[in-house]
């Protein structure tokens, strides 16, 4: 992984910078001991790591503003960090950068059920946002797999999705407002408890900007009343193509399931060995979940199973109660862990038009043979967001490189069929250099102009998202 050469002058001023930071933050909020900063050397993209200059853990918006103002004045790059669960290296530091962690910003500021929003500090974890309103039968809809650990700050930065976004949308569709600190320390309020922007939709472009436009310290999030109930059905098929066709037919029929999840044979076998969820041994399976009252669920499932039967499923298992629902979801939720038991893996995140599913799955199978690396597919089929898991052995020289080359080919294929490089994980450092396969120079230039406005000196998370060659002239 190529990163820009760190600024030696900044590294040389580390002691002075740390002393200045200690003047504006509580003593325990500045970490510069190399042993203690080790925990911040990488995020969940663990193949790449780098020690930061130091780490700061401010506790409120004013402290964040003070830190950014200082770093701006000193020309020191800042890498914002939520919980460090990024799979794309979004929170990976450089040697000359200060990690700004929002972990201490974890309060609930306001819960307003009649107006259906919650305002939280951005370091709060995704799951604990729902937790704060659970006893009132409300929830926060976006549910990334890492929701137990991931912070709202990171969700906003990456515009995170989850299994249930087919019905409820992703972060940007559930984010109503933010308090954000610009790199020069200016605090701005975007959006709020009302709907829609009064002028340009700055909130819309901030969400998903990967920590490059500002540091979000507070967020106003839409909360929803929980459905009366939810139940999945598991459908097994003897070919991936047929499973893909079934997804399309379900959508055509006018049902809008809350989730349609897909697993192929390698994933099914691995999860069976790992979790023993009782899945059928077949080429592909779908888990389709619907919501509503008992009668509504029954009616929707009848429609869905009726469609599925026309595709000659090898198995059709309708949940009859909470225990069976949990078993149906068990395998899907264990899929990443199960694949990890077999070997190291790289998880991709490209999105494709649903109609291209059979073609893309077949090509991935062919490439798997060409590269000599196994791959399992588990993904959100309703919206075409794929998660191919490429297995490799990190201890075997050359395997990681082969895996990355294979992954890049898959992502280019996603773009070729009309999709994109990343559906919910973000670009980070991981897919930075692939951006030219999806975007023209003018497309990238337009995006970089947005950063020019929010962060003219390109000090916030500068070496991410854009190909290094494209951003070189701006990073100074």
């Amino acid at each position: 992984m190529q990163m820009p050469r760190p600024d030696a002058a900044v590294i040389g001023r580390k002691a002075q910078l740390v002393a200045r930071l200690r003047q504006i933050l509580p003593a325990d909020a500045v970490i510069d001991d190399p042993t203690e900063t080790r925990a911040y050397e990488c995020d969940a993209l663990t193949a790449y790591r780098c020690p930061p200059l130091c780490v700061v853990l401010p506790a409120d918006t004013a402290q964040v503003s003070a830190v950014l103002r200082l770093c701006h004045a000193e020309g020191v790059p800042v890498v914002p960090r939520g919980s460090g669960t990024s799979l794309a290296g979004g929170a990976m530091p450089t040697e000359d950068s200060v990690i700004l962690g929002v972990a201490r910003l974890n309060d609930v500021l306001e819960i307003d059920l009649p107006n259906r929003f919650i305002r939280v500090q951005s370091g709060r974890t995704n799951l604990s946002v729902s937790g704060a309103v659970e006893s009132d039968d409300f929830f926060y809809a976006p549910d990334p797999s890492s929701q137990l650990a991931c912070a709202i700050a990171g969700n906003v930065a990456m515009n995170s999705g989850g299994a249930h976004c087919l019905k409820y949308g992703v972060t940007t569709n559930n984010l109503m407002g933010v308090t954000m600190v610009l790199m020069d320390g200016t605090v701005v309020e975007l959006g709020g408890a009302h709907l829609d922007a009064g002028g340009l939709d700055l909130l819309g472009v901030v969400c998903g900007s990967e920590g490059q436009l500002g540091v979000v310290t507070e967020a106003t999030l839409r909360i929803l009343r929980k459905p009366e109930g939810a139940r999945p059905v598991l459908i097994g098929f003897d070919s991936s193509e047929v499973a893909g066709a079934c997804v399309s037919d379900i959508i055509r029929a006018g049902v809008l399931p809350v989730a349609i999840e897909f697993m192929d044979r390698p994933c099914i076998r691995a999860t069976e060995a790992f979790a023993g969820a009782g899945y059928p041994d077949c080429e592909a399976l779908l888990i389709v979940e619907v919501e509503g009252s008992e009668a509504e669920i029954a009616a929707q499932l009848a429609l869905i199973t009726g469609i599925a039967r026309q595709h000659n499923p090898v198995e059709l298992r309708e949940s009859t109660g909470p225990e069976e629902s949990a078993r149906i979801w068990l395998g899907r939720k264990s899929a990443f862990g199960a694949m990890g038991q077999i070997n190291d893996y790289m998880c991709l995140d490209g999105t494709i038009p649903v109609s291209s599913l059979p073609l893309v799955l077949r090509r991935i199978g062919e490439m798997s043979a060409e590269f000599g690396l196994d791959v399992g597919n588990v993904f959100h089929a309703g919206d075409g967001n794929m998660h191919p898991l490429i297995l490799f052995d990190a201890n075997k020289p050359g395997d990681l490189e082969r895996c990355e080359a294979f992954g890049a080919e898959i992502l280019k294929l996603c773009v070729e069929v009309g999709g994109c490089l990343t559906g919910e994980h973000g670009v980070g450092v991981e897919k930075r250099e692939l951006m030219t396969s999806q975007f023209s120079a003018a497309d990238l230039e337009a995006q970089m102009r947005v950063k020019d406005v929010f962060d003219p000196a390109w000090l916030l998370n500068p070496a991410k998202v854009f190909p290094l060659a494209a951003s070189a002239g701006r990073r100074g």
Binding site: L113, E189, D196, I251, G254, P353, S355, D383, V427, A446
Partner: protein, 374 residues
């Protein structure tokens, strides 16, 4: 008036412009700057429609009605129920899909399905330099690079001229029904709407008319879906809202559709004199807005969070709304009022600086609808 027929011609028109351009779709939304007219209406047609993937890609000048008819043929629709502004503004012409996006026009279903910007998954546009830019694409989940799609929605032609837009669609429901309660005060009505929206019954419209068609206040709550489901939810909502008063269920498809079109298009103000304001606040602040302004007429949509106000000509209502978070847009007014009162709510200085910065970067010559947004 320039009327390019292709994106390439559009790019040439912008690149070669000698001065300000007034960007037009169908010219029905009352937003026009000064300058040479540049119409996008010549860029028409469907690029791609894949019902099995709920995906539509269409050129910006395509009439909204054409799009809606085509989707209805497949049992689908645009989720966000775009408003038709011709009645309230007294404009003629053919609303275009690009105009819908440029103004982020969203109707009553916005509270459930999101605004136009939430269904918009891709754009192509020509920036102020004449460069063709694409962002997003045709897939629902896409976090590749910055989300300029959202930025373009509601940018009123000031950042670029849209040439193509892509949407995520929804299946059209089998049926719709409306729970109606008569005679509520504004505050009780908004409380009832909040109770309905806070229920698990998937309300897709929540409006209150202090002066309904027959003159009495009426509160409207819509549910849509499969027939059995809609009947069940309407019944549960009636029970839930019993404490607010007696209710009836309207389930005649034509009457339900007409009622919500009436709300969506603010037809109540169409033939009444006065300026029209659109105020966006948190729902429980809706009645505060009305009390503070004292309008001739008001219509509440979005559970109370969108308040349409009919007020005397030339009156600036913004000073009276100080202390209520949100924004007020001047939708209909005469030239003299327009010259005095900005269409869009003034932004806090640091936010205004960011907006101005973006406009300057995307349109360095300041030729795209100059002055329309500040």
């Amino acid at each position: 008036m320039m009327e390019p027929a292709t994106e390439a011609e559009l790019a040439q028109a912008v690149a070669g412009a000698a001065g300000p351009l007034c960007i037009r779709g169908g010219g029905t939304r009352g937003v026009s700057g000064t300058g040479e007219a540049l119409s996008v209406a010549g860029l028409r047609g469907v690029e791609l429609y894949e019902p099995g993937a709920l995906t539509l890609v269409v050129r910006a000048g395509t009439p909204v009605a054409e799009v809606e008819t085509m989707l209805a043929g497949e049992g689908q629709r645009l989720p966000f129920e775009p408003m038709d502004m011709r009645a309230v503004l007294g404009t003629n012409g053919v609303p275009t899909i690009g105009g819908v996006v440029a103004s982020n026009a969203s109707g009553p279903r916005r509270i459930q399905a999101g605004a136009c910007r939430d269904s918009l998954i891709g754009v192509r546009f020509v920036d102020g330099r004449g460069d063709v830019i694409k962002n997003g694409g045709r897939v629902m989940k896409n976090v590749t690079g910055y989300d300029l799609v959202k930025l373009m929605a509601g940018s009123h032609g000031t950042l670029g001229v849209l040439s193509e837009v892509s949407f995520k669609l929804l299946p059209a429901p089998e049926v719709a029904a409306c729970v109606l309660i008569e005679g509520l005060s504004d505050a009780d009505a908004v409380a009832a709407l909040s109770a309905a929206l806070g229920s698990p019954f998937e309300v897709s419209g929540a409006a209150h008319l202090p002066v309904g068609l027959d003159g009495a206040p009426v509160t409207m709550i819509r549910v849509e879906g499969f027939a059995a489901s809609v009947a069940y939810r309407a019944g549960r909502l009636q029970a839930l809202l019993a404490r607010f008063g007696d209710s009836v269920v309207e389930d005649d498809p034509a009457r339900v559709a007409a009622g919500w079109a009436w709300v969506r298009d603010v037809q109540a103000f169409a033939d009444l004199p006065g300026d029209v304001w659109r105020v966006s606040v948190k729902p429980s602040d809706g009645p505060r807005v009305v009390a503070a302004v004292g309008p001739r007429r008001a219509v509440y949509d979005w559970g109370g969070g969108l308040v349409w106000l009919l007020v005397a000509e030339g009156r600036d209502i913004r000073p009276g709304l100080a202390g209520i978070a949100g924004h007020a847009t001047l939708i209909r007014a005469g030239a003299e009022t327009r010259a005095r009162i900005a269409r869009f709510h003034p932004e806090a200085p640091p936010v205004a600086a960011l907006s101005a910065g973006l406009r300057a970067r995307f349109d360095p010559r300041g030729i795209l609808n100059p002055g329309v947004m500040g």
